[in-house]
Symmetry: C2
Subunit: 406 residues, 2 copies
């Protein structure tokens, strides 16, 4: 008899028919004798609808009120899912984030979970209930304010609840049936990964593979909670996200991610003096723009430098403005911006024990005349910024070169 | 400087444009220096949509989960309204029923308000906020469960909050601009009533004039809270519901109500023995059917009786079944049912000090060949059950006979 947390995303509970299907899956699990806690997102489209309403009323709606507003969507699905489970003859109890004891800090719209007082969940499970919890939301420690955890927060709710009640595993149901070696919409040969290390998943999640939210992977890694990514539309086995084990090192590259939502800025010919990078990125940070990759080249005579960096495309205008100002002060020649770029990354814990992986990536891209504009590496990943139009080609040739389809 | 509670119904907050209009009215009031607490219903259609979802999933959704489900609608409008008020430059704080301290008993879907701990409301008002509270909902004393107050519960929330914070008055904004002498859709000459006594409003509310929910009128009467019924679509002055005063007695009949949602059952020729009525209505009460009017006639020889009574049309099948069973046991000849009836009632506190009011009603109906099937009277009202098809005629001739248009 296992204790299982199942999380269902927005498309999985998008209609009453879909909620019925979720209830059937939940009851099927519960009928095997397992104890089941269900975490649900809002019905797909609901959160966007409410955000839309708020923005029709105000250019800058207060975050406290946004939390009260948006938390209603998951309450609706938790109640509906519990009702659907009961209709199938199994006891079910719906709980809001507050009722489930999900205590957060007071930072509205992106609160952090501080603790989960899981007594009510455990009590209900012991009384034979399936417990259905509204994801994405919590309450401040004094119970005065409703908070939300930010986009994708329901994944985090699920993992955190799983950790708090010491579940055997956390199952994340979504509209894809697992984590793939790369985007199957682009590379037909993309293969579902059976098992992936937290670190790899984390790189893939933050690199643009939208299956699982980064914070929830971090949380699972911290507490060593096994996470299964599954489809709520099929009975396929899914992908297990877990602690790195020996076997995983044999696989050099586990997956290839891409991100088309970045823009690249370059300050050309800055007189190279100590502290120019610090001054530049201080100014950009003060404008609340998050910088991803940074590359600095020094001219052959050592007098001038080019500094390139990438920012989210949505922030590129703001970043350009700030950069132009600081470029003038630093005496740089000009600032260039390119929005037609993408970042392609190979990820794998096996890189730690294998050499030549980055070189193989560069060679593969070069063989296909794909120019690399920027490079950034970590222990388990290599990222290259390339021309946007080569993204799909790069994914295909890298996928084949690293033999991920085998 | 006054302390005012304003309640806006579902159509008044039915779209973001309507919410904007509500915010404008609220800010207009607040800008005069008055302190304003706003109670909002769910956007029109939302509650029905959610009920529909639940019934698609289960024939008998649990009431606890229904409360969690339905309470979300008012949370949405409270947040949106606060956001709209802030956009107009006035501080606003949205509160759920729980956050506003609306404590109820534990009877889900029709909870009774036990008390309102208004500290947070008062504190926010003193800090210059417009406070926007989600109507219709509360929380149990231990804070464990969310409850709702039943249909029309937002009116009750408004009056109860007004009483708790000792407001100067409670304004109920709806889609009509006050209480009329009768339905203006039927009688063109119907006139808006400027001022009406709680008792009269109570009779009109329970008799089918849907402007104000009965429980909220009872509550207002109990605590002597003046209630204004107004339209959120106009700036017309509305109707004041208040304590009876001397002037009101001069008006014999204040309004005429009708109810087309009743059915009439008659047990014909029951052998008249003591206790037959008790046995009959005990059985009907056990079936949870609410009986409105009851009339009993004894045959001229005193051996047989006819008993007629009315029940809500929705309950008529169930009532007929129970009545047929008991009729057999009592040795009655048969049970008749009529669904093509309506109840027309004249209401007025002035009846207490004027005689001949009932007689005038009967004569007016008789003059127009409208047959009266049943009669029921109270201190301030006379009700007649008539043929459904004469409802409109009856309203018109009574309205004219009692000179309500003057």
């Amino acid at each position: 008899m296992a204790l299982i947390v199942q999380k269902y995303g927005g498309t999985s509970v998008g209609t009453t028919d879909r909620i019925k299907a979720v209830a059937e899956r939940v009851v099927r699990t519960a009928d095997t004798g397992d104890k089941v806690v269900v975490i649900v997102s809002a019905m797909s489209g609901e959160t966007d609808k409410l955000i839309n309403f708020a923005h029709k009323l105000s250019a800058h709606p207060k975050e406290r009120e946004m939390d009260l507003l948006l938390s209603s969507g998951e309450r609706v699905t938790s109640a509906l899912t519990a009702i659907a489970v009961e209709a199938l003859g199994h006891k079910a109890l719906a709980l809001s984030g507050r009722q489930a004891g999900i205590i957060t800090d007071t930072v509205h719209t992106k609160a952090r979970i501080e603790k989960i007082t899981g007594e009510r969940i455990i009590k209900a499970l012991n009384e034979g209930y399936v417990v259905v919890i509204a994801g994405f939301q919590g309450v401040t420690a004094d119970k005065a304010e409703v908070t939300t955890l930010g986009r994708g927060g329901s994944d985090l709710s699920a993992v955190a609840v799983a950790v708090a009640i010491q579940a055997d595993r956390c199952e994340i149901y979504t509209d894809v049936d697992g984590v793939y070696t790369t985007d199957p919409n682009i590379v037909q040969e993309a293969k579902k990964i059976d098992k992936i290390a937290y670190e790899e998943m984390l790189e893939l999640a933050s690199l643009g593979a939208k299956v699982l939210q980064s914070r929830s992977v971090e949380f699972a890694m911290k507490y060593n909670m096994p996470v299964m990514v599954l489809s709520s539309f099929t009975d396929n086995p899914g992908t297990l996200v877990t602690k790195e084990d020996k076997g995983m090192e044999n696989v050099v590259v586990s997956g290839i991610a891409y991100d088309k939502n970045q823009a690249k800025l370059t300050i050309v010919n800055v007189p190279d003096k100590p502290g120019i990078a610090a001054r530049l990125f201080d100014s950009i940070a003060s404008a609340n723009v998050i910088v991803d990759m940074i590359v600095q080249n020094i001219s052959s005579d050592g007098k001038f430098a080019d500094i390139s960096f990438t920012v989210p495309k949505t922030e590129s205008k703001k970043a350009l403005e700030v950069t132009k100002k600081i470029a003038k002060k630093l005496g740089a020649e000009r600032v260039d911006i390119r929005e037609d770029i993408s970042k392609v990354s190979i990820v794998g814990v096996g890189m730690r024990s294998h050499s030549g992986v980055a070189a193989k990536m560069f060679r593969t891209l070069a063989d296909h005349k794909i120019n690399i504009m920027m490079i950034s590496t970590s222990e388990i990943k290599v990222s290259c910024v390339i021309d946007l139009k080569f993204t799909e080609l790069a994914l295909r040739v890298l996928h084949s070169s690293f033999e991920l389809a085998l």
